[in-house]
């Protein structure tokens, strides 16, 4: 008898847990699909630009699409990060969703979006490669250093995704800075975000120097790829921790 009631309590907890999880899952998928709609436009436009530019600019190196879209993706992720608190936080909490579920959903959604962008870009690159193989049309299909060997195929994918996510975190930091503390807090958060992306970029911009505001330049040693990845992951964890602290009990604006 006690065994049965024990089972019942257990399954009750499990149902409760699943219910909890389901809100976070719903928020994650809602945020992913909303932002992915924007991302598809973004990838489409960048793709067209990447095909058109070599027609007009002759001294441009043919560059792999995944690498081509990397810089614009960082800015895209920064922008959707900046939008986050103003577009979603109040609306979600206003619909009875906890700040915690908003936080989880935003992280998962943003991760999904950056992976989605990279996946679409890879597919488009693959299509270009196929087109290049069966026709004489060779747009941007130079066998760049990235796709040349199969073994490094995953490295830029993961690296670009982590780096894109770091830009999102920077944007989100600016977002909560302005949302919670207004102008001065926003200004501080912008400076923090610039330093933050400078640090995350340092591993990926090989052989260059650490730049802040364009004029402060700190020469950097060539960092190894694993080191860059570890640094970025650590910075992501730190950035997300700070954002969670700032959003945990944030008062929602009534406007």
């Amino acid at each position: 008898m006690s065994g049965i009631s024990g089972v019942n309590r257990g399954s009750g907890r499990e149902v409760g847990f699943l219910k909890d999880a389901s809100t976070a899952v719903k928020v994650s998928s809602d945020l992913f699909f909303t932002q992915m709609k924007w991302a598809i436009w973004f990838v489409g436009i960048v793709f067209v630009v990447s095909l058109v530019i070599p027609r007009f600019v002759t001294d441009v190196d043919h560059i792999h699409f995944l690498a081509f879209i990397f810089q614009p993706t960082k800015i895209f992720m920064l922008v959707i990060g900046i939008l986050s608190c103003f577009a979603f936080l109040g609306y979600y909490v206003g619909n009875g969703i906890t700040r915690k579920d908003y936080f989880i959903g935003t992280v998962v959604g943003a991760g999904g979006v950056v992976i989605g962008i990279m996946a679409i870009a890879s597919v488009l690159q693959g299509v270009l490669l196929l087109v290049g193989m069966v026709t004489t049309y060779v747009p941007n299909t130079s066998h760049g250093d990235v796709l040349g060997t199969e073994s490094v195929w995953l490295v830029p994918f993961v690296g670009y995704s982590l780096s894109g996510l770091a830009y999102f975190v920077a944007g989100w930091l600016i977002s909560i800075g302005f949302y919670r503390y207004g102008g001065i807090g926003g200004a501080i958060s912008i400076i923090s975000a610039i330093i933050y992306v400078g640090l995350t970029d340092m591993g990926w911009e090989r052989g260059s120097s650490l730049q802040f505001f364009g004029f402060i330049q700190i020469p950097l040693p060539d960092l190894s790829l694993p080191f860059a990845m570890v640094t970025t992951v650590v910075l992501l964890v730190v950035g997300l921790w700070v954002i969670r602290r700032l959003t945990k009990r944030v008062p929602i604006k009534i406007e």
Binding site: G96, T98, R249
Partner: protein
Amino acid sequence: MRLNVEAKNVGVKLKDTDVLKDISFTLEHGKTYGLLGRNGAGKTSLLSLLASYRDPSSGELLIGGEDPFENRMVMPHVGFVYDTDYSDEDEKVKGYLEFAERYRPFFDREYAEELARRFKVPLDKAISTLSSGKQSALNSILGLASRTPVTILDEVYLAMDAPTRELFYQEVIEEQARHPRTMILSTHLVSEMEYLFDHVLLLHDGQLLIDEQYDAFISRGASVIGASTSVDSFVASMGTGVKKLKTQQLGDTKSVMVYGELSDETQLEAAKLGLDVGPVSLQELFIHLTGEEDKV
């Protein structure tokens, strides 16, 4: 689902200002509460606590016996709609209904669409393009159709035109009969809504001045009309338990609005003196109880 609300010595401090001071009350399932107060009295601050928009600086708030803030078991069941700025909202009405349906466990889509028809709110238009009256109507629809066990409607009726407001009041009454809940209507337009309230909460300068059954509260107010001298002596005889709210004089006739416990003997005495004792509306009580500083 029944959710009672209990506030114990709740306070909210913003920067150095006490927006709410030491507020205690309980709200019961199935009742409609009128939360009254002048602009800046702290109505919205109080309601934002219930909706977990912020947490109290002091004291304790319980909904269904639990702290509602960041509580997954409580937050979906507390609905809070207010006069929202929709000027940037390019989402369609339908999108808002879908979202509420997704996250509000008791949301009734059919009922929401029926209300939209009756309030003439188009489903497929961007919310920013709707008139402010229609945007208000949308808020009321969300508030009513979400069927949240705690439903808070904060001044959402202001921009609606009079016929729509009437429709809305009717719906509030019918919804309370069909799906009883703890309903809170906050307003400073008291006169046309007072018949909706079972209970009155009156906030003034961040403090809870009145927390009373509507009938009991109303019965404390009386206007005494008669010959100037008899009115004066009668009011003076009522003692310190009674507050003089308003005095009007026309020739030898004086009318004094009083607030306090009026016993049967007092009423009889008034009749003996040839004075008229009449009722006072909630609106009048509200104006004069919260307007003291203007009088002195």
